[in-house]
Subunit: 258 residues, 2 copies
C-alpha cells in the first residue's frame, strides 16, 4: 500500500472528511476552485481527511496552502454533510470516479481500502474567500487540473459537492453583512462599480447605483484615492480602498445599511 | 451491559454525537433547555448519538420529542465541534460527570465503554426554536431535571456546551432576518411590544419603538386583531398575529428592513 493510503487508514479519524468551497472573484464573476479527476470527466471540491491529532481548521488551511499557495485564507465552517445517501454509489459520476481510483489499488490493498471508503462518511464543509489574482491553482495527486469555475457554470461534480457549493453560496448571501467580502475578494484598490458588482454577484440581484454608493460612503469604511485613468478625464471613476480598522470593527456586529 | 449501552456501541456511528441548543422565549427572556445530571452539579444540552441508518435531523427530532413532547420543531444545523481538546477530561465538571457515569458501569463493561467514550468525538450542533409555553421539559435516563434557563444565567455546563450556546446565539443574531423567530417563539397573538422585546433579546440591544413598529407594519406580515384588554381602554395595545403565507415567503429571501 502506498505511504499516503497507509497513513490515511492508520492515522485519520475514520468516517470523517473535510471539503472546502473556495470562492473567488474575477472579472466581475463569482467563481469556485475545482479539481478535475485524472482520466475522468468529474470534478470535486478540494478537501481531505482528518488526522487524529489535528484540528479541522488546521487541515483545511494546509489543503488551501497546497491548492492555492496562500496562507491565512479567510475560512468559515458552514455545514456538516452526513446523509446516509451520500456514499460513492450515490450517483453514476461518483461511482465511476471511485471505480477508476479503485483500479489503481493492488488487490491486496482493496480489502482494507474498500472498508475505509465504504463506511458512512460525515463531511464538514468550509467556505473560503480568496482573491483569484493572488492564488496559483495546483492539482493534487488524483487530479489533472485545478481551476476557477464560474458558480453559474458548474460541471459534473462527485458526491454531494454541487449541493455544498449551492449551500455555501446561500450562507454567503445570508451573512454578507458579517463577512469581509470586499477585503478578501477584491484587489486593494477598486472602483465603486467593482464593489457594487461584487455585492450583486453574491446577492444575485441588481442594486441601485446611487443608493449603493450613498450607503457605502455613509459606513465610513472607504478611503478615496486617485482616479482610474483609462479614458476621458471627466468620466474616470475614483479608486477606493477599505479602511481595515473601521471595517473589521463593523463586520463584528454586522454592517447595517439601515 | 445494559441494552442502551450495547446498542450504542454496536449500532451507532463511532466518534459522532449530536447536541441541540433548544431556544425558547418566556416572560420576555430568551432561554435554553438544559438537563441536570443525576447527583452532580453539572448541566448539559440535550443530545445523543447517531445510529448508522438514521439521518442527523431525524435523531435530533426524536431527542426533541422526548425532551419537550413536541413534533416538527424548527431546527437548524449551525456548527460541528471537533477540537482535539473537547474530551471528557477538558475540564473538572466534565471529568467528574464522566466519573459518576462510569461508576454505574460494571467492571466488565468498562473496557468497551471507556474505549467508546475516550475516542475523539465530533459533535454536530443544531439549534431549535420553541415556544416555551407549548413544551413539557422531561429529563432523560441520566438526568434528574430538565429546565428552561435564561441564556444570561447559565450554570456549570459539561464539555464545550457553553461555547455551543454562545455560538448558537451568534448565529441566531446573524440570521435573524432569515429565521421564523416570531412564528416559532411567540404565542399566536402578541402585542407590538412583545415582538419588539423578542428582537431586542436576540439582538441584545434596545430598539426605537416608533421605528420598529413602522418597519414591521411596512413588511405586511402582521394582521391586527382586537385590543388586549387589561387596563384602561385608551392605553390598551392591539394584538397582532403573523400572516404565515407572506412571512414564510419573506423569510426565504430574508426580511429586509431597508
Amino acid at each position: 500500500m502506498s505511504k499516503f493510503l497507509r497513513e490515511l487508514v492508520e492515522k485519520c479519524v475514520p468516517g470523517v472528511s473535510l471539503d472546502c468551497v473556495v470562492l473567488g472573484y474575477q472579472n466581475n464573476v463569482l467563481k469556485v476552485l475545482l479539481l478535475k479527476y485524472k482520466e475522468h470527466n468529474a470534478w470535486a471540491l478540494p478537501g481531505g481527511f482528518l488526522p487524529q491529532g489535528q484540528e479541522m481548521e488546521e487541515v483545511i488551511g494546509l489543503v488551501l496552502k497546497e491548492r492555492t499557495g496562500l496562507d491565512g485564507v479567510y475560512l468559515e465552517q458552514f455545514k456538516t454533510y452526513s446523509s446516509i445517501n451520500r456514499g460513492w454509489n450515490c450517483n453514476e459520476i461518483s461511482q465511476e470516479g471511485f471505480n477508476k481510483l479503485r483500479s489503481t489499488w493492488s488487490t491486496a490493498d482493496r480489502t482494507v481500502l474498500d472498508q475505509w471508503f465504504n463506511q458512512r462518511f460525515i463531511s464538514t464543509a468550509y467556505f473560503a474567500l480568496i482573491n483569484c489574482n493572488k492564488a496559483e491553482p495546483t492539482p493534487d495527486a488524483v487530479s489533472e487540473e485545478c481551476a476557477w469555475v464560474p458558480v453559474n457554470e458548474l460541471p459534473n461534480l462527485v458526491l454531494d459537492h454541487k449541493k455544498m457549493i449551492s449551500e455555501a453560496l446561500s450562507q454567503l448571501k445570508r451573512q454578507i453583512n458579517f463577512l469581509p467580502i470586499g477585503k478578501e475578494l477584491l484587489d486593494q484598490k477598486f472602483t465603486m462599480l467593482d464593489l457594487q458588482r461584487l455585492y450583486e454577484s453574491i446577492l444575485d440581484q441588481k442594486l441601485d447605483r446611487g443608493n449603493f454608493q450613498r450607503k457605502m460612503m455613509k459606513l465610513g469604511i472607504l478611503t478615496r484615492h486617485e482616479k482610474l485613468m483609462t479614458g476621458a478625464q471627466n468620466k474616470a471613476p475614483y479608486l477606493y480602498s477599505i479602511d481595515l480598522k473601521v471595517y473589521d470593527q463593523l463586520i463584528k456586529t454586522g454592517i447595517s445599511f439601515v
